[in-house]
Symmetry: C2
Subunit: 362 residues, 2 copies
């Protein structure tokens, strides 16, 4: 594979990884066939929608921190390629900046772990704020929050807008969209006559190319601001509430609130208990949310790898994995799409070396 040839690539999966990869390849002049079930209702559709690289850092998960930072850097130019306008005018970005804070002392200690990890590798990207400063920045937040830090370099996105615009751009670029599911990668390649197959089928990739990706259920709420409601926070709020992660992500119409996490296998039903936990935790962080309209609760199955780092790379000649992104599919789609393009064109990205899909093979 070389940079100057136009190749035919079959992409399996219409989540954010498959769609962004299809767009990136088609935009670079390759012929793309996108094969997926009819509607995108998976975790990319359910997601809260955060380009949150730094406020997810965790000791021992440095590869994810670096992948996230690399992807965040690549998202703004990608959005410009997608929309033809500066990213900030795209309508896909719904807010800039993140507040990270805790509720109890253990939550504040967790926040400190994140800060220490990020500071070590990306000094200055997070700044501590006093309660008084936080109140000035985000007056609607509850005074119970402690240990707050702010990151100005992260963004929130409307994931459904993003998917819809990726779909429209792919159509415009002549991406050939085939409905239906795939059971055999080689059959698909022969069937459509593709040079390369990219498997971006989330947890469904496990069966297709024998990679260790499992489903981790998560629920997300969508709450719509009413005329009578308090204004939502301007930034994404990532709170730890008695050990549980709770994030409030800005939308033009209100807030997405996530996310629960269960190892339940293939379970797509939002439960009363998950909904209850998210509502209780969100109201502790932003009490004004109680007046918001309850628009939706949905559940998605995040595709996790054993070490939480995705699988991006060739698993055998002509078959590329792009899966296992866990809860970070939206954030990591940009670097994944660029990395897949690099593989297809014979110029692999060194930045994704930690995501070698063959690292689990003995």
């Amino acid at each position: 594979m070389s940079a100057n040839d136009s190749l035919h690539v079959a992409v399996v999966g219409n989540g954010v990884i498959g769609m962004t990869t299809a767009f990136r390849l088609a935009h670079a002049g390759h012929r793309v066939t996108l094969q997926a079930p009819s509607a995108a209702t998976g975790p990319s559709w359910v997601a809260g929608g955060m380009f949150g690289a730094y406020t997810e850092a965790w000791p021992g998960e440095e590869p994810m921190l670096h992948l996230g930072a690399e992807s965040l850097r690549r998202w703004l130019p990608l959005l410009e390629d997608l929309e033809g306008v500066p990213a900030q005018q795209s309508g896909i970005l719904t807010g800039r900046g993140t507040v990270l804070a805790g509720v109890d002392a253990a939550d504040a200690a967790d926040v400190e772990s994140i800060v220490a990890t990020t500071e070590e590798h990306y000094p200055g990207v997070l700044r501590r704020v006093t309660r008084r400063e936080l109140r000035a920045l985000e007056p609607s937040l509850a005074p119970v929050l402690r240990g707050a830090v702010v990151c100005d370099d992260e963004w929130s996105v409307d994931n459904r807008q993003l998917l819809s615009k990726l779909g429209a751009a792919c159509r415009e670029l002549g991406v050939d969209r085939v409905l239906g599911s795939v059971t055999d990668v080689d059959e698909l390649r022969e069937g459509v006559g593709a040079d390369v197959v990219v498997v971006a089928a989330g947890a469904g990739s496990a069966e297709l190319i024998d990679v260790p990706v499992r489903e981790v259920k998560g629920e997300v709420l969508r709450l719509r601001r009413r005329g009578s409601s308090e204004s939502r926070p301007e930034r994404t709020i990532r709170a730890r509430v008695h050990g549980r992660p709770c994030y409030l992500v800005p939308r033009s119409w209100g807030l997405a609130v996530g996310a629960t996490e269960y190892e339940h296998g293939h379970d797509l039903e939002a439960t009363a208990g998950g909904t209850r936990t998210l509502l209780d935790d969100a109201a502790m962080v932003f009490p004004g949310i109680d007046d918001y309209a309850f628009a939706e609760v949905s559940a998605g199955l995040r595709p996790y790898s054993p070490d939480n780092v995705p699988l991006i790379g060739e698993v055998r000649p002509g078959v590329v994995a792009a899966c296992g992104h866990g809860r970070n599919g939206i954030l990591l789609a940009a670097v994944t799409a660029d990395a897949v393009r690099g593989i297809v064109e014979g110029e692999p990205l060194p930045e994704v070396a930690s995501a070698d899909p063959n690292r689990f093979r003995s």
Copy 2:
């Protein structure tokens, strides 16, 4: 109006009051025109669905207690007329019996007020149970409940099944259904050539016939049992949780959980806060609910009169009010339908004297 003539009655409203009245009149041989908006999405559709006369008793609200008991008595024969089978086989009834209990000491005192009021007028209909007895009757309930009493003479109903079967029966009986809303009662009467107009338009009745009926918002959840879920209680559970009423009403597929109550005017949006309160309170009463699927939250506008007693009777010759049933529309539909039939046929029911619609006129 006399018992032997077949009259033409126009009924305004397709909630449970309008539909039951239309059915009752058509079943008695009258010609009925039912005029209402296209779909029944009002409080009868949202409702939890309880024939709960005795466990709603409250000191000073004895007229409601008597109306409820009278209506409960009339429901079983009405269901038999509707379905042609014994009421217990109708599929509309979803459970028999009610457990009434509280969480804190003030809640238990409220339960005692209900018991005292009911006992005074209907001795023996409620029986106190110990915690041990309650555990044997309903093992899924939380041990936190106190002061429990059981009523074996109340029923729960699937209100949507009821509305659907009333609709089917009306069609079969030749009820003429006219879509669209009504703005003038006399125009309607002239337009369709009716002898009598029955206004069963809930809070919409206020404008039509100048009666003091206002909207009180309430939210109800529908939670579906999953394969992994604990079995629901067999009886309707009416709990008071730190002063808030919380009821769990059996369905073949799970539970309806209600209900919040706000004086917000015309507001049909279910809120995050209402949903949160219902989920928290229900989980305190029946912890197993957390694994149930979150199927729906909806809001309805209960039509309340100033003294909570409905308005049933002639407001002027040929115009009959059947509205203002507040949170008890499902329960009171049977006695209301029979009372309207009595008025139409010149034999008013003395049992509904307390519901005289002219009692608020000075």
